[in-house]
Amino acid sequence: MSNHRRTKSRGRCTVLKVVILGDGGVGKSCLMNRFVSDRFDENSFHTIGVEFLSKEIELNGETYSLQIWDTAGQERFKSLRTPFYRGSDMCLLTFALDDRQSFQNLDTWRREFIHYADVKADFPFMVVGNKLDLPRAVTKEEAESYCTANGDLGYCETSAKDATGVESAFLACLRRYVCTDAPQEAVPLPDTVQLGTAGEPSKGFCLSGCS
């Protein structure tokens, strides 16, 4: 995190930091592993501490390297988790479609993120309903209305287990990022301006609310 810097790497791609949040057991690590290595481990562990993986992804002819940060979901580890929010470019708010409680906790996660990442509400959030392969406890309509009511967040449903929708979830989030970020691209020397800073959220001046 401290080394996070939106930057060109060998002139090849922009590095973006993505944080995956959500209750314990909703499948954060599995989403990350499915996206990065296209695999699903039935026997995967619950995450302790913090891990991250990187993956390059193309959008509109430009290559981005997504650095995906995965943390432990239990409340107890909040003080460990939150420092890693800073400098994020995107956030995946995750719940399990078969777990109503995890859906109800989404807003806690969103607020925690906004607070500690020190970003504005128009930050590129993507709400992800995972475990589409299991019986639903949350309807698509409910989830969508939550997203609409909270600043028009992006929404998609995935199954890390059978790979449904995972890549497109990350892509959709990246699209939102690119869109939110767009006004800055017009500023000269974007590299100097875009860097995440202490006082100012990196995309704080996208007031048009594009999404």
Partner: protein
């Protein structure tokens, strides 16, 4: 099909198992040119026929063995192993480790570290020859097995410059790094600048370091302090970079030699300054550590040997002697289920066989009561008990993802998973306040596997949690204390490395969190975890031996981390990737050797002696150190278990001539006096910012101070800034030039405000 050119191929390159449970897997190592880039690839041989299968599942030589216990036998087969293919673009490869035995570990610039591969016939010569066509390879001066890679073009420029004597280290220019290596234009800029590379880096960073609102205040604070007391302010500020200065070896030599004579240690003049700078104490350590001794370990304790420790009633005659023996070699697997019950307090060492029988029966009744309490909870009751519901839900989720690839817990509807659940639920009833915290299931699973008995496992687990309960403190203070203890240790046994970590924003040692929380369980194979735990439970030879084990791992990785110039993100990646690749017996030898080294050394700081529960030596109690000793000892009241020790909330800025470890002369520890209970675990207070009169917002906000990206890669560049501040100050003090513009270096710093913020020691993730 993409166009590929095969330039190197070697079959029968094997993975190297790190434990008995693992099998070696043969594969094919290749170097391929593709799209103007070269790649190193390794793929499991069995996988060749099916290129779509990204993962090889190796189970063809699964071994079956049987564990006997009272309730029958449990079939255990060797875990199947997934072998992930390796593919690394050469431009991403930062270094590799290659031993004379022909084992190769590829380490990427982003810290990713691949599993070790073994060349057939121990011969990697041709591989290296082919590799050297693409990249310049330089052997590390500190570690003969470590090879650092550079782009050929930049390597040539470096060499030319260093031949001219303009840049002391060819690699220094590449200090300016990004997440995926430095861009060529950046590198050229830094290299193209004559004189000190560091100053060119300051310049370079100004382009990429963002504006930070806190920085000007800090700088103004520095200025006001400077006007009030330039000497103190300058030296205090400088001292915080002394480590950085020193790590630039030859530059430091020049710097130090200018001071001349016995006065080599610039901190000599700092004595007594702590009162002038609130928030800091200076602890000068005059001694040096002795050489680290060589340590041998013993084979595991066997049944025969154990029986000699027992008296006729079946009691252990000399528990201390037996524990010492367990520390030195561990326990043979056949004896574990019995001896773990002693080590974890389920049995008394002195008890006879008959007494233990009684104990078992009593404890069984007690356990069954606990079990009834949760198992008879009605759904209706649960609805009104959210605390219970939460704990239950988390346990259900976590037991289903604990050691499920281990044969004892694998497969659907495995009854052992149900046992894990039962024991954890019963523990919730036993200690509802602590309840269930993630990590506990990791601590329980090996115990159940060894004891193979639900009730014994429960009481052993209770004993284990008694030892490590502070790992699960609500505010995580137990974890913070351990990380601080580890900081203290590293600062003493390897000040150069601690300085490096400081300068790379990694001194919080956060990447060791997982190690400590579950006592290395995620880092080691199952059999090694069992071995390590029994060694730790022996409580020999000192308190907090697990921190010495952590220090030993870091000691093993320090060269790789420093020579690759890894910073926080890369270190985290690299350390996470060492999981399952550690050699436990080697580590235990190193950890014990470090212990012996500390015991044999005089002038080990009291903080470290207290941490390890060693008697304070007279020499560490005089002078300034005494101040901190008193405070340390009284600062925090800790629970009675042996795993915790009083550690102040401090950060250490260590500095010392960066000669070889254990041979250093003097070094200095700064520690913050006031205890900080910030909500934010990892944000260490910007102590030096405060000391410079800056606007440190201690505890004022839960938002960490400053932006993390602001300081990326900056520290080395500060040398120039600080030097010029010092220069001005010295001239000012000497009165040589009263009209000197004292603000010029500071305005330069303002210009590089992001750097300056780092310069004054802001430390966070």
């Amino acid at each position: 099909m993409e166009e590929e050119t095969l330039v190197y191929q070697q079959d029968e390159v094997h993975t190297i198992p790190t434990s008995l449970e693992e099998l070696s897997v043969a594969g094919r190592l290749r170097i391929i040119e593709r799209r103007h880039s070269a790649y190193i690839e390794w793929r499991c041989s069995d996988d060749e026929s099916n290129p779509d299968n990204d993962w090889a599942v190796v189970n063809k030589s699964a071994v079956t063995f049987t564990h006997h216990n009272s309730s029958g036998s449990v079939e255990i087969s060797t875990p199947r192993r997934h072998v992930r293919p390796i593919s690394v673009e050469l431009a991403d490869l930062g270094s590799y480790k290659l031993t004379i035995e022909g084992s190769l570990v590829l380490i990427q610039r982003d810290g990713s570290t691949h599993p070790a591969l073994q060349f057939p016939g121990k011969d990697a010569e041709y591989f290296v020859e082919v590799l050297s066509r693409y990249v310049a390879i330089k052997r590390s001066e500190k570690d003969s097995t470590l090879f650092l890679l550079r782009d050929k073009k930049t390597a040539r420029i470096d060499d030319q410059l260093s031949a001219l004597g303009l840049v002391s280290h060819a690699s220094r220019g590449s200090r300016v790094r990004k997440l995926h290596g430095s861009s060529s234009s950046d590198s050229n800029r830094s290299r193209g600048s004559p004189q000190h590379t560091s100053s060119s880096q300051v310049e370079l960073h100004s382009a990429v370091v963002p504006w930070t609102t806190a920085a000007p205040q800090r700088v103004m604070g520095f200025i006001s302090n400077f006007r009030r007391d330039p000497y103190t302010t300058t030296l205090t500020t400088l001292s915080k970079f002394y480590d950085i200065v020193l790590s630039e070896d030859d530059w430091a030599e020049g710097f130090v030699s200018e001071r001349g004579g016995d006065d080599l240690n610039p901190f000599a003049s700092l004595s007594g300054l702590d009162n002038l700078e609130p928030g800091f104490q200076v602890v000068t350590l005059k001694g040096k550590l002795v050489e680290r001794p060589r340590v041998e370990r013993l084979p595991p304790l066997t049944q025969l040997e154990y029986s000699q420790h027992c008296d006729v009633d079946g009691g252990v005659r000399d528990p201390q002697l037996l524990k010492r023996r367990i520390f030195k070699g561990g326990i043979h697997p056949s004896l574990r289920s019995e001896l773990w019950c002693y080590l974890l307090g389920y049995y008394d060492w002195s008890s006879s066989s008959a007494q233990r029988e009684v104990r078992r029966n009593e404890r069984l009744v007690e356990y069954q009561k606990l079990k009834l309490q949760w198992s008879t909870m009605t759904a209706d009751q649960e609805l009104r008990n959210s605390g219970f519901r939460e704990r239950k839900s988390l346990i259900e989720k976590d037991v289903n993802r604990t050691d499920r690839s281990h044969p004892f817990y694998e497969g659907d509807d495995n009854p052992n998973v149900q046992l894990l659940h039962n024991i954890l639920m019963s523990y919730v009833m036993f200690n509802f306040d602590l309840g269930y915290v993630q990590g506990m299931s990791d601590l329980l699973a090996p115990i159940l596997y060894v004891t193979q008995n639900e009730c014994a496992a429960f009481w052993c687990f209770v004993g284990y949690i008694d030892i490590v309960h502070r790992n699960f403190d609500m505010d995580q203070s137990g974890m913070k204390e351990q990380l601080l203890g580890l900081q203290h240790l590293i600062a003493v046994i390897d000040p150069e490395f601690m300085s490096y970590l400081e300068s790379s924003e990694s001194a919080n040692l956060y990447f060791c969190f997982r190690w400590l929380l579950v006592r290395f369980k995620r880092e080691l194979s199952y059999s090694d975890t069992l071995r390590l735990w029994e060694v730790l439970w022996s409580q020999e030879p000192c308190k907090n031996f697990h921190l010495l084990v952590a220090a030993a791992i870091l000691d093993h990785e320090r060269n790789t981390i420093m020579e690759n110039k890894f910073e926080f993100t890369e270190i985290l990646k690299h350390i996470n990737d060492t999981s399952q690749r550690l050699n436990l017996e080697e580590l235990l030898c190193s950890a014990e050797a470090i212990y012996e080294q500390l015991v044999a050394s005089s002038d080990v700081p009291a903080a470290v002696l207290t941490l390890l529960g060693l008697p304070l030596k007279p020499s560490s109690q005089d002078g300034e150190a005494d101040v901190s000793v008193g405070e340390l000892a009284s600062e925090k009241c800790v629970s009675t278990d042996e795993e915790t020790s009083p550690l102040e909330s401090s950060r250490i800025i260590s500095a010392g001539p960066s000669s070889s470890r254990g041979k250093k002369e003097n070094f200095v520890l700064y520690r913050r006096c006031d205890h900080n209970d910030d909500d934010d675990f990892l944000s260490e207070e910007d102590t030096s910012g405060d000391s410079c009169g800056g606007a440190g917002d201690n505890n004022a906000s839960v938002v960490p101070r400053g932006d993390t990206s602001a300081t990326d890669g900056a520290p080395r560049g500060l040398v120039g800034t600080v030097t010029s501040i010092l220069g001005s100050a010295v001239r000012h003090i000497a009165g040589e030039d009263a009209s000197i513009d004292l603000l010029s270096p500071i305005s330069a710093a303002l210009h590089n405000e992001g750097l300056f913020e780092d310069a004054i020691g802001q430390q966070y993730l």
